[in-house]
Amino acid sequence: MKYEISPPKGLIQINLSELWRYRDLLFIFVWRDVKVRYKQTVLGIIWAIFQPLLVMVIFTVFFGQLAKIPSDGVPYPIFVYSGLLLWNYFSSALTNASDCLIVNESIIKKVYFPRLILPISTAITPIIDFFFALIVLLGLMWYYGFAPSLSSILILVLLLLISLLTALGLGLFLASVNAKYRDVRYILPFFIQVLMYITPVIYPVSIIPARFQWIMYLNPMAGVITAARATLLHTAALDGRSPIIALGISLLIFILGVGYFRKTERFFADVL
């Protein structure tokens, strides 16, 4: 194996074969984060189930019952829960990816490995929580009399992938910025909160005047959540365009994020 170490110049290509060689490390990082997470908390898995349920109850009382926010004709609890399912995954993945360089600072300063492994693995980790929360959703669907079809589950997996791409793309960008400016750590929770209110998690897109709805769909998570509700809860006929637009935009975000990350990554050890 022959290679050269020289000063970085121009755009750096993604070294896919190298990423592939380090695939074990990717899994190990995911496994480590899951293991540590469930080792340190007393409630473990219950926590992953309890948290979205509690949020669902609070949102149902305040937004569903008191504020009477419409829910496209399905019961508000399952309406908001289906939104929270994907949103929670997205916000955890984004937070993890943005913090991954700082959290793993000591490793980055000591050992070489493709740095992309870190944000990718930390964005994958919350899929475990997503899975547990999904089981609760299936329970709720059964309770409210919705039957999940195989195709709707497959579409949900696709939507999860779009969420992953979006979170990872944004996360890669923020992680690079975070390495140099720690402000990101403080801004991010606020940013995510704002993002949640401009994403149709607690309300449906249908309450927005039709001619402005396209603006909503510039946010990939809006398309993801709307499509998830359409396929699982039949809130509307599934419009094939919204997931495709979401996929396109998420790919764009992802490519920009990877580009920026690759451009800055060689200096992480110097700036961290």
Partner: protein, 408 residues
């Protein structure tokens, strides 16, 4: 044979302050708005035009004082940081042991950490599985395999960490100061293991250390760095000798953290070996000379009551000895404005390590000049005084002239 590592004019520039506390976004924004550069972009070359080659199977030592650029070089070779200029051509996979236990997670068990650490160091899961038993056996932690490493003693921790790293199978192994930790026995085991790695398996080893004993045992060839440049390279004994003779004149004139009336001031400190050559390091068991220069503001200063003292501290600041001239009447009564005090130590009874000097100068009951941690020197236990204790500082700072016998 083709060199396995070929380093050509390698240079690394750091901005001064770049590695200090982080720069907040606010600072950047306010710099932008006020059109000013908050930090003048002072730069320094941590490494400058370094070129050398390493042949496959060779164990090469990289020595130099703190800040000479050793760590920067290793960081570039292990791709942690990129060079500013120059290039390196590598003909093999590198694994670096810049700090043992990198990535160990305290909550995970020994078993889990072997997999984690192995993967971080670049092993595949299959490789780790194959080597698992060997690693556990080498680390001597069988009983604690399923205990979280946060409950390990520091010795066990280091053993496990070294064991994982030592079972890597890269063509090139980069090691930085691992031997500074662990107990003597295990250090020796590590050294043997490294020897085995370097000799038998035809693996190339780059070894950075302050421990000249270990360097001499392990490396056939050495590179001496100083201020980012190579000042010597070649067979180990010659380079080590050069390192030891490395001039270390500590200027004291600019020190502000001093106490005293200042009628007489200490200006610098130098170290000499028995032959009167200036050195930065002493050798255990050989004569050592400490020369302290002074300057008096009044050229006809009366020195009849002068008392000079050296407080000797070890590397963690523990006072280990005091050398003073109180009661010694051999000093002249009046001297000219400048001169030096010379302290001769016979058969220096110190073990390997770094030692710091605090200096105090009194006259007639008044403190004239007092400087804490004024200078330091290194000691190398090259001759293995005390039966090869040179591997370790854990035997203590002193070498005592002793012998054993058995009577019946």
């Amino acid at each position: 044979m083709l060199p396995i590592i070929k380093i050509e004019k390698l240079s690394k520039e750091y901005k001064i302050g770049q590695r200090e506390t982080y720069y907040s976004l606010r600072d950047s924004v306010s710099d932008l708005l006020t059109f000013k550069h908050r930090k003048p972009h002072n730069t320094f070359w941590a490494l400058k035009d370094v070129s050398f080659e390493v042949k496959a199977g060779e164990a090469i030592g990289i020595i130099g004082r703190n800040g000479a650029g050793k760590s920067t070089l290793l960081k570039i070779l292990s791709q942690i940081t990129p060079p500013t200029k120059g290039r390196v051509v590598m003909n093999g996979r590198v694994a670096s042991l810049l700090e043992v236990g990198t990535g160990f997670h305290p909550e995970l068990t020994g078993r889990e950490n072997i997999y984690l650490n192995g993967a971080i160091l670049g092993m595949s899961r299959k490789e780790i599985k194959k080597k698992f038993d060997e690693i556990v056996e080498f680390a001597e932690i069988e009983k604690f395999l399923d205990t979280p490493v946060k409950r390990y003693s520091s010795g066990m921790y280091v053993r496990l960490a070294f064991a994982v790293a030592a079972h890597l199978e890269p063509e090139i192994l980069v090691i930085d100061e691992v031997l500074a930790v662990g107990d003597v026995q295990f250090q020796r085991k590590c050294l043997d293991k490294m020897n085995e790695i370097a000799r038998k398996d035809e693996r190339t080893v780059l070894f950075v250390s302050h421990n000249m004993g270990a360097i001499q045992t392990l490396c056939g060839r050495c590179v001496l760095l100083e201020h980012g440049k190579i000042v010597a390279s070649g067979e180990t004994p010659g380079v080590v000798e050069k390192y030891l003779k490395n001039f270390n004149n500590t200027q004291l004139s600019d020190r502000r953290d001093r106490i005293g009336k200042g009628n007489i001031k200490l200006t610098s400190v130098t170290f000499e070996n028995a032959k009167g050559e200036e050195v930065a390091s002493f050798v255990s068991g050989e004569d050592a000379i400490i020369r302290i220069y002074y300057e008096a503001t009044n050229p006809k200063q009366d020195l009849s009551q002068v008392a000079i003292g050296i407080g000797l501290d070890d590397s963690i600041g523990q006072r280990i000895a005091g050398l003073s001239n109180i009661g010694d009447n051999s000093f002249p009564e009046i001297i000219k404005g400048k001169g030096s005090f010379v302290c001769k130590v016979k058969d220096l009874p110190l073990n390997s390590g770094r030692f710091y000097l605090s200096l105090i100068l009194r006259h007639d009951g008044d403190i004239m000049d007092w400087i804490q941690q004024a200078a330091y020197f290194d000691v190398e236990n090259l001759n293995n005084v005390n039966h090869g204790a040179s591997l370790s500082r854990s035997d203590g700072a002193f070498l005592i002239n002793y012998s054993w016998e058995a009577n019946r």
